[in-house]
Symmetry: C2
Subunit: 389 residues, 2 copies
């Protein structure tokens, strides 16, 4: 490899987020080195320099980061003590352990947001069923660590649902984590404010988007969020930019928010990596979240986050349950029907409910973009319900 | 690899064109398999499944294409008889040997264009100096095969330059090729009409661009060609679309043309692969030439070739001669100065005159795009002359 190329970045985790980092890495001439959880996983299909290893084993992390200028992540599951050990050995860990813990532990995150005065749903750490009753209903209880895509979350309408809380406590105890109770917010919709921050302190903020979650899984994103009041959009971006700075985030930070029916935004979750609500940026923004993540990790100046089209709609492709899903076999119809459609597949086999790709449709007319993206995603998923033709 | 992924495409040649196919291949979930001329070459850095081998050795071609649905190319140097052997073995060769020979052999190309009545510079195969004299001056003599980036081309102003023709004949004889004489066209500028054609016969035509060549090397492309008269633009596109069909091209066809000072277009060269004059499509068109090349190779419907911005300017990054060139080291300035700049590097070490990358700048104002792209390319090349700040 020529000497005048970029320093190498280690990426921990071989999922689709690492895979999608490979595209801008190739364009920018930035070599990646991947620690993959198994042979042939999504990112290992497209990153030449990869090894199979375990992100919970320090020796594996040390081996993959040798000779790399920085290490970043496909997921938030690397233990904090390992991140500290890597930092101590001189590698730039981005985001660093002190920032990342806020995306790993919801209890730590809520405490930090309270300290910073950032608006959140009312919440409290609870240790037993009596504490849940005292918190009040309806509420949602969550494990502080380890939950994602709807796992580790229980909704309690009333005390009649306390058996679910018991299940939550059992799960928490089995995994050595805590339980957080949060008010069930009466929200109009979910928003996401995505920013990238470099170690030097530059922040790029993409337009605030609306996201639709079903069963805890992101299904659809509209960029920008339609009819979002300008003050709320600015507040959401300011929260994300401020959190990125206060928590010392390096790379992409996604702040998922509730827009309440009474016109407020409340922070729901934080993610410190490229995020599903930012996949629209691949085709809809001047600089994608994946490129700006890499730039931030190397402390390079960030690319412009502006939208390239009035509207971009992202819809995830999820494996259907009836076995009629198709990926490559769906191309002839999807591509012929919509020559402007942008398809992103992850190299994953279809399984019911599994995210295997997404489509982006951009243009001047929101309804047209929605129709095109929804139709294509439903077509691939083999799930042509009432929302499509 | 899951069964519902795309069929595998073999790519012969590990240069930057193959490298840039890897980005849309990853997005579309299309696995590539690369025959690289050496370890660590441009495309071998980003295509996991690669082997080192020789594109002139049939056994190497056979080994790399085993299990692939189709084979395509980074360059036009694979011998015709090998392409026929691969076809006979059942693999789809795209473009096929009968088409590709028109990009390999300028004599065959000129004969085909004459047969089809496509406007060309006056030309003739010449076998000795007397034939060159009879053809007339000024003229240009070219080897029919093997020339590129200005090599294999000699300009003759008058009979005083006949020693150059002698050099041309010596080169041709040493390489077993012929010599073509062509009139020196009094052209206003060079244009390029780029199309992709699928085996089913669909053709996507990108806007006609203006390209600036220096010393036979493409330096700059403006999309679309400024102030190009609509009838000429249509004629150029029709020539490219017709040639793609008549010659049976599959994949990208670049038709380089002269726009004469008296308002005609004349075909100069053909290339049957993604082409330097199409690099602007990566950031400036809905579908890039690299993606549509892959789609065409697999006979999938083609993506829309429309421009996404009023203007896109591509400028190549060439290694300067004074040792002040920089690639990664140039990022802090280039990215901070222009957050909208799109950079594409090839993973190649700098050498004087070598193409090591390109930049794209798009926007509403042509002068602004020209200034941004020229400045960035000159900055990387270490060649900040009068055309930049």
């Amino acid at each position: 490899m020529p000497d005048d190329l970029a320093p190498r970045i280690a990426v921990i985790g071989g999922g689709q987020l690492a895979r999608m980092m490979a595209e801008p890495a190739a364009a920018l001439g930035i070599p990646l080195r991947l620690l993959a959880e198994a042979a042939g996983v999504s990112a290992a299909q497209v990153i030449v320099d990869h090894e199979v290893g375990d992100h919970t084993v320090l020796a594996d992390l040390e081996r993959i980061t040798v000779g790399c200028a920085a290490v970043t992540f496909d997921h938030e599951h690397v233990p904090t003590e390992h991140l500290r050990a890597l930092e101590a050995s001189g590698i730039a860990v981005r985001p660093g352990p002190d920032a990342l813990v806020h995306a790993q532990d919801k209890g730590v995150m809520r405490a930090a947001l309270a300290r910073l005065g950032v608006p959140c749903p009312r919440n409290a750490l609870v240790t037993d069923l009596a504490a849940v009753e005292a918190f009040g209903f309806p509420c949602v209880v969550k494990t502080t660590r380890g939950g994602y895509d709807g796992r580790g979350v229980w909704f309690l309408r009333s005390s009649a649902d306390l058996d679910r809380a018991a299940e939550a406590f059992a799960t928490a105890e089995a995994n050595g984590v805590e339980i957080l109770a949060e008010e069930l917010v009466d929200f109009r919709r979910e928003l996401s404010a995505l920013v990238a921050r470099s170690p030097s302190g530059q922040v790029a903020a993409w337009p605030v988007v609306a996201s639709e979650q079903r069963d805890g899984v992101c299904r659809e994103v509209i960029a920008p969020a339609p009819d979002l009041a300008e003050p709320l959009a600015i507040q959401a971006q300011q929260i994300a930019m401020r959190l990125a700075g206060e928590l010392g985030v390096t790379g992409v930070l996604a702040v998922e928010l509730f827009e309440t029916n009474d016109g407020r935004v409340l922070v729901n979750e934080l993610a410190m990596r490229p995020h599903n609500t930012g996949h629209w940026t691949q085709d809809g923004a001047i600089t994608s979240q994946f490129e700006n993540h890499l730039r931030a990790v190397l402390d390079l100046p960030l690319g412009a986050p502006d939208a390239r089209a009035p509207w971009t709609v992202m819809v995830n492709i999820l494996g259907g349950s009836d076995g009629t899903a198709r990926l490559y076999d769906g191309y002839p119809h999807a591509m012929a029907r919509d020559p402007r459609l942008r398809v992103h597949l992850y190299g994953k086999a279809m399984r019911p409910g599994r995210k295997v790709g997404h489509v982006n449709a951009y243009g001047d007319d929101l309804d047209d973009c929605l129709m095109r993206a929804r139709h294509a995603a439903a077509w691939f998923a083999g799930d042509l319900g009432e929302e499509s033709e």
